[in-house]
Symmetry: C2
Subunit: 410 residues, 2 copies
């Protein structure tokens, strides 16, 4: 009888609130297929840590209780890395990696990550193919940026979108308590893709409600038009809130945040690069003289456990288990993709499929121009309909002493 192959799973790139949900999905599906899978291992700090020999015995070191805690733990439980494999498959690092796979008798490798991680999956699966290695390599998507192609959306986006929509609604409430004109600029993550910033639209309770304007990197940003927008907004709303992507850029392709460094130096003589929100805050103060503040939503966008979307979490876990099931059927070099089904009653439904990882990596899905409306300062109803189902439901996060309880490696 052939010896059963083992399963190895790793995480890479920036964490999300549900990347451990996908890890949960891979692990539970792996443990449920013990007739085919020998043992379940985790690589620590991704490919980079694995090359140093950092491996965790998940099967022995994580209890069933731990697994439930893991599901709602933000961050990357196994640790992460930002490591790009060389383009040249003849580079000795590949031989080293596959020797390490063989040492652990790995037959199935799952890498949970974004664009760069799919690049890793592509290279490893091509190397396996080239060398006749039997290791099956699968990509499980994650990114709050929602910028992977070939999938309706990505795990991690729904919870981040829920965080943004909830927080922008709360900030708008807070911003509206005084009777004097004020502008609040909320800067949201997204360097090239505006999906997450667009989620701010869900904060609106009625037409023309805050956030009154939404600016994405996909549309040329003009500071003159922005100032005109703000002036116009004040005609009907005393307390304006606007959302801007960190990556907004002007018609020359220059990031607006880069202008903050043009004349600015800090106490240490370095150029001061602030975010575009701070830059626009100073611009409005200078040109319009109204009360203005900018708020940079911080890493909570990707690690808040208090605003998890149950839909997102369940889909993240399902992506992981679907990947394991597919690999067991012989698949390799694939990423798990989400397909939205247009049900007759307009209810949201999803099914899962596999796409060639080479069609995913090093590409970027940005917001379609036809979903950007107004003068490049708003998003369409299609965007609302697209995002709203992804933020639904709230999972129960275990608590202790009033705080969320997370799982950490010993």
């Amino acid at each position: 009888m052939e010896m059963k192959k083992n399963l190895l799973v790793g995480q890479s790139g920036g964490p999300t609130a549900v990347i451990n949900g996908s890890l949960y999905g891979v692990i539970t599906e792996g443990l449920q297929n013990k007739e085919a899978i020998g043992h379940v291992y985790g690589m620590l700090n991704g490919i980079e840590g694995f090359l140093k020999g950092n491996v965790m015995d998940i099967e022995n070191d994580i209890s069933d209780n731990d697994l439930e805690l893991l599901k709602t733990t933000p961050g990357s439980f196994l640790g992460s890395c930002r490591y790009k494999l060389p383009e040249d498959l003849a580079d000795p690092v590949y031989e080293k990696l596959f020797a390490k796979f063989d040492e652990l008798n790995i037959g199935y490798f799952f890498y949970i990550g974004g664009n760069d991680s799919m690049d890793t999956v592509s290279k490893l699966s091509r190397y396996a193919d080239k060398t006749g290695s039997s290791v099956r390599v699968m990509g499980v998507p994650k990114t709050i940026d929602n910028d992977l192609v070939q999938t309706d959306h990505t795990p991690g986006f729904g919870s981040a979108a829920k965080y943004v929509a909830t927080t922008v609604r709360e900030i708008s409430t807070d911003a509206s308590v005084y009777d004097t004109k004020s502008l609040t600029i909320v800067e949201i993550m997204g360097r090239h893709a505006g999906w997450l910033t667009a989620a701010g639209v869900l904060a609106r309770k009625f037409k023309n409600d805050n956030p009154v304007y939404i600016y994405l990197p996909e549309s040329d940003f003009s500071t003159d038009e922005f100032l005109a927008d703000v002036k116009k907004g004040f005609e009907t709303n005393n307390n304006l809130v606007v959302c801007v992507s960190e990556g907004i850029q002007d018609a020359t392709g220059t990031f607006i945040c880069e202008y903050s460094g043009e004349a600015g130096v800090d106490t240490f003589g370095h150029k001061t690069l602030t975010g575009c929100g701070k830059y626009l805050e100073n611009l409005v103060k200078d040109k319009l003289g109204v009360k203005v503040r900018s708020i940079e939503l911080n890493v909570s966008q990707r690690c808040s456990s208090s605003m998890l979307s149950l839909t997102d979490l369940n889909e993240a876990a399902a992506a992981g288990s679907f990947g394991v099931a597919a690999a067991l059927k012989g698949e390799t070099g694939k990423m798990i993709a989400f397909n939205r089904i247009n049900a007759a009653d307009n209810a949201y439904a999803l099914n899962y499929s596999l796409v060639d990882v080479n069609e995913v990596c090093n590409k970027e899905k940005t917001v379609p121009v036809e979903w950007i409306t107004g003068n490049g300062n708003d998003v369409s109803q299609e965007m609302v309909d697209y995002i709203r189902p992804l933020i639904q439901g709230t999972p129960v996060v275990p608590e202790k002493d009033g705080l969320p309880l997370f799982l950490y490696r010993k």
Copy 2:
């Protein structure tokens, strides 16, 4: 038979997550005492709006359903102001205000706010006393800063503390995914009092866990000692997280954030005043050359409905209703105070009392020096024991379409 007097309630100063909880308490207690109270009114945008005649008919315009929504709505439902009444009680504004009270036949006025609002309560109650007006004036405390004297703590602090502790724990999780040395500086609200920053200590799961250091305004801050602390921290922890109050200052009494403006100018030629977190980020980059980022927790500290403390919310509502009950018994010129009862089993318990508002206003309760430990870089177990009961419990916040549902004025 004497005509029944009416009730008026207003909100002032910066909002908190539970200031509407106190409003809920005042309104419900008012409506439950209709044998004594004629009608329940709200002033819009505090004393300033009231002087312009902005009044809301709460009793007729808010339904029972609305009231339940109000309880968990952040921000100041009635709007707010920052308006200081003149010191001179002979100023004509007082006559004008009391004429407006008389127009509405007000017998009971409740002002929900912090230090400045208690100053208003003090002046109005003294004016009433001086002129023989029968209007009873009561202060209902609120502030996330927890800096009011004569009370164990203030409504609003518990929820803000829960937000800080939860978020710092999540940020620490996010900050620990990479294997390389990194420092994360979390800047927390609190200009003169460090209570809210101190709440970061609850994020720790074990001794020496993140946040490894906590710096409060009450302790002289030295950048040299800070750099030495960071270096020492890296000896045992690759991914350091520290909490700093926005108001940390050095031995000369200069706010650390003020140094950011020393040499800095922005694109518009203005001094760039960043927060102390950003300043320390640049300092560490310059002096230690390690990966460092600063995160300024934003207004979500005071307006997040997702991390409400049920204890805080219930106490906020109880403070409002206790105030109404006391005014009906003839009290005036008082603030509602919280007294922690030392129960035999160490369980947390509270009772309510009244304190002379003149003993509260224009004073500030800072963190006792003996609760600041280490080299001014940590807080004691007393602080943990003091804050922990205040963040317990999670209320149900009504939701619609995956987002919290709030109550707004029509």
